[in-house]
Symmetry: D2
Subunit: 351 residues, 4 copies
């Protein structure tokens, strides 16, 4: 079958037409024909052969990449309960151990033995993919495939927003990539009073403004960065925003994060800094009484229920706008070029 | 009256016998005769003329230092409701604005306009001190004065422990000064299953072991540090402790903090690192899904109720043991020498 | 001055033009000229001489009624900090003791010594009212007076909605009076996926449908009540709504409440049943694993911040629609008639 | 094999020696040789042919009863991961669907399709029992069998206590059966400041006093009931306890529950009232701002981790004292007589 694979530590990915088609091997497995699949930031890092990721993946070479998708069930193991042939589904691609403390206490997103399909085993940049029954999420028939293609990523944004209380809060979002834009819209849907978004890309900021951001700031320009902090601190009963979501992973955004929050504020961190950062814990975290939450994966499956609920409540328009490019799987190189050049938001492949 | 003052940016403190006695100036003020007052870590930093503290205090020079005490009410303003002459009391020495968002929403410990007595205005290393009515905390008659002298500090430990769920948890406490020792005991009283304490001082570790710590580790010795991490990770369903309390402010303790916690664990930070620290946010916070809480002050007045409740429930023995030195206020230099040499835990002055 | 008073246990209220104008007696008091004031459900009960209320109020006879209002500051005590002459303000009319455990721990809405202005002492159905400085809430200049007139009631709805998590939830609201209608809109603003509202009054239900309710049900009709429960239970993975808000106080609504919630659901109770109710705790609460919250007053002042934040975020349109009648204070009898006949939502007086 | 069965709607149970031995039928099943098994309150209701229970069980007649036990694994299905032959284990006997919203969001204790072994299918009053792999809980070798026999019930007490915050709180526990006694001890272990226990049985109250209760009250005596309420309300800053745990199911205990709690207090309900109760919601729940939680089952498997953690932290002594009777399974009638006459606490059978 057609697939995009990582076959060696060298940068880049390989398109093939003769990857072996996966099969239902166990009683609880489900075979899905992929209808649409999307590029995640992690896939870009895989393309670029990020050091940590490459080391991790090298044990699985050659491995089919990709971990965001939707498709149609075409075969089910004999004990499968959650899916039937013909069902329109997506799936959680973090395969949990179900045995560790976190899995056994409802915190499977922090499973200590997670296997990620598309990294540790075959993923969904392909015509077919196999996932365990428990990971299947049935979808409403009217959910557009290009949106269903990236529910995994939507879940990251929803999980981040769910980690804090948004009602009547002023919220700063650092980074206006797909995550930041989704978070802006979700924050507003969850009752945020004012949403401020920063980035260094005007195009992204203008999309954010259309989808929930009350104010946007190009923090590449010193005067806009000043203005951002001034607006954050404008209320003299708070002198800072209530909530900050770090969606960029950029070191300077961390500076903004600690500068923009009020005493007693809350931060959720989703963006991945490439290098260690130097932080003044005493002044910026302890004396400010901050709460900081590292966000990983999606709550299985609370986040999935939440994202489908938010889609039903009106999130869909934003999600459709975020898909800027769609193309056949064969044109994967063009899709990655879009991401590498920062010219688009979500890129969806049709296998 | 007798008092210990900071009069200039130079290191050291000054004892005087002719400090002006404070008076009840407003209708809501209370004059207290100090019976016992204790040295806090911040007082040691003031003694050493820590740069940030000295800059802050210079606006108030000459200022009476000290912010932990108990005493007897000797005069009350005409609208005072919480205290009568003769009452045995302590007081919260963070004077809140009562007007900012945090004050108005029950989070006064994060008041953005806090004035700290003993830093920004006259404190309690003296024969008398004046505090606002609202800050008075009446004490049970049988609470020993040398313990009541440092309720403020006990509150820091209680506030830190209250920021996390202890029930049936494995808890690592980094630093076995007074804070770490109190936290060890409080953690056990609040249902912790196992408490592990680290420090580099054998004497402190032995006190911790007597007061709640199930295991102690001298992390100055590489093999004990290894053993500490091995014990933290011994359960193969968690591979780390559930909760870590940073009570030392030491950079190497931060390394231990991130190394000892399980995926999805919680950290509360009370110790004050003297310098910025370099942290791998991606690996150590985000991918681990940690929650990190900066701890400031005490919840006004939830923490005070909690600490008096925990004393009633059995914390007193530990608190008495922590007072290693008592002396007249006149001998303040000897008291500070004890702290500077790391030879004692709590040092209490009797004015 | 003009005022509406309760002067005896007899049903009805008395309009007078020679009530003594209140004066600033203490250093922390504020005198406000009332611009607009609204009838609360409690005022209707006072009009009807509800037994418990009348007994409570008899100690204060003759007493000016009314506890929802906005106005302009005309005089301030010498220590007043939160208001200046000319300010446009509302006020929390629950006067707290600031001394009890709840007041001292950020739960002043549950103060054990609350004095309610308009019940226990003079209220705001008058030309002037005096309130303590701490209770003053400054308002944005562009907030319409007829809406600002009932912020107290808006706060009840916000407090109720804040007691539960709305994000992506299905929410049933029992009762479509002003509280239910506000709650429907607030629930949607806070991320609710679907809001179902019941009442027995078609006019109210149609307003609810315009302001947040996805579906409304006239539960006076058995077939619509059946349909309500069928819709609540339609998802076979939940068989009930996640959240129910009781806003009617009606016994049959309590039946619906327990019938409509899923296992593990949450209920918040704001409506006041006139009589004790018989409930099957085993089947309907314990075996269902429900959490039930009694809602009293407003969080001081978290709820006030939230309601002003939600108004800024878009709640205003709904709030304006809820004001169905405005009239001079002199015509109070006509206003109460509207409420007694159930012909309007909020009735606002202009003194 | 030997077993105790319910074979008809008639009161009583039947001992047999020729019940069919269960077998490992599925790949995920585990066969366990029962070493010790305990009588639960529900078993007494089954014995007495409680109407609701009998109707539910009639679909399964004849059915082996019992749902609390420990034993040794003697056979495992081919995909079993959590247990090996020879392991000393207990098991959660609520078999969850793993498909409903609650199961998928970490709230399996509120599964809408729970099958309870010992009620809906064969239980553990027998020589052998089969349970699914996921439900197995491995035990430490040194946990006494007579305690391990009733971990299920210990979990109910732990789950109830975990529903509220105990630290420095005053706690009333209504009912001093095994649940109330365990709760008293757990409350103290979790930091409760003062624990008050009520019952009508002096023997039970004296056990409670030895295991955590600071004060006990025989509320069958009017003067002790008065004294109970007086002690609950003795603090004039609270006028009631912070937390109440209803462990009796008795109507008069509900009266005490609402009378003893302070404004803003919390109640957790575990005891099962046999009949509907009449409650003044307005006065006792809404105006008091109470939070009330119905407690069902145990959190799977958070509660199991907590109870094993609390046992490690010192709960064991209390648990051993609660086992007042042990006997061979053949003498089941004697065991039930003990419970029916209220002469013992936990009765353990040895098959």
């Amino acid at each position: 079958m057609k697939a995009i694979m990582k076959t060696s530590p060298e940068p880049g990915l390989t398109f093939t037409t003769d990857a072996p088609q996966p099969r239902v091997a166990g009683a609880h497995e489900v075979l899905i024909k992929v209808r649409a699949t999307a590029i995640c930031g992690t896939d870009v890092d895989i393309y670029k052969s990020d050091e940590d990721l490459t080391r991790r993946m090298s044990k699985a070479f050659p491995v089919i990449t990709g971990h965001e998708f939707c498709g149609e069930v075409v075969e089910t193991g004999k004990n499968v309960k959650r899916a039937r042939v013909g069902d329109y589904v997506s799936a959680e691609m973090h395969i949990l151990c179900n045995e560790c403390y976190n899995c056994r206490t409802g915190a499977g997103h922090a499973c200590i033995n997670t296997v990620i399909k598309g990294i540790d085993s075959h993923g969904c940049f392909a015509e077919y993919v196999v996932v365990p029954d428990s990971n299947i999420v049935p979808l409403p028939a009217d959910l557009p495939e290009e949106v269903a293609a990236y529910l995994d990523a939507i879940g990251n944004a929803v999980h981040t927003c769910s980690a804090v209380d948004m009602v009547a809060k002023r919220v700063a979002i650092l980074g206006a990539g797909p995550m930041g834009i989704m978070a802006a819209r979700i924050a507003k849907m969850c009752g945020a009073r004012e949403v401020l978004v920063t980035d260094v890309n005007e195009m992204l900021l203008s999309v954010a403004r259309e989808h929930g951001a009350d104010h946007v700031f190009n923090v590449a320009k010193p005067e806009e960065r000043e203005e951002f902090l001034r607006v954050c601190r404008k209320e003299n009963t708070r002198r800072g925003v209530d909530v900050a979501l770090e969606m960029s992973g950029h070191p300077s955004a961390y500076g903004d994060l600690f500068a923009c929050l009020r005493m007693g504020g809350e931060a959720a961190l989703l963006g991945l800094p490439r290098h260690p950062l130097t932080v003044n814990f005493t002044k910026d975290i302890i004396f400010k009484g901050l709460t900081i939450k590292g966000i990983i994966g999606r709550k299985t499956y609370d986040t999935w229920f939440r994202m489908l609920g938010l889609i039903e409540a009106g999130l869909l328009d934003t999600l459709k706008c975020i898909v800027t490019h769609q193309m056949p799987l064969e044109e994967f190189q063009r899709g990655f070029d879009v991401k590498l050049k920062g010219e688009g938001l979500k890129v969806v492949f049709r296998p």
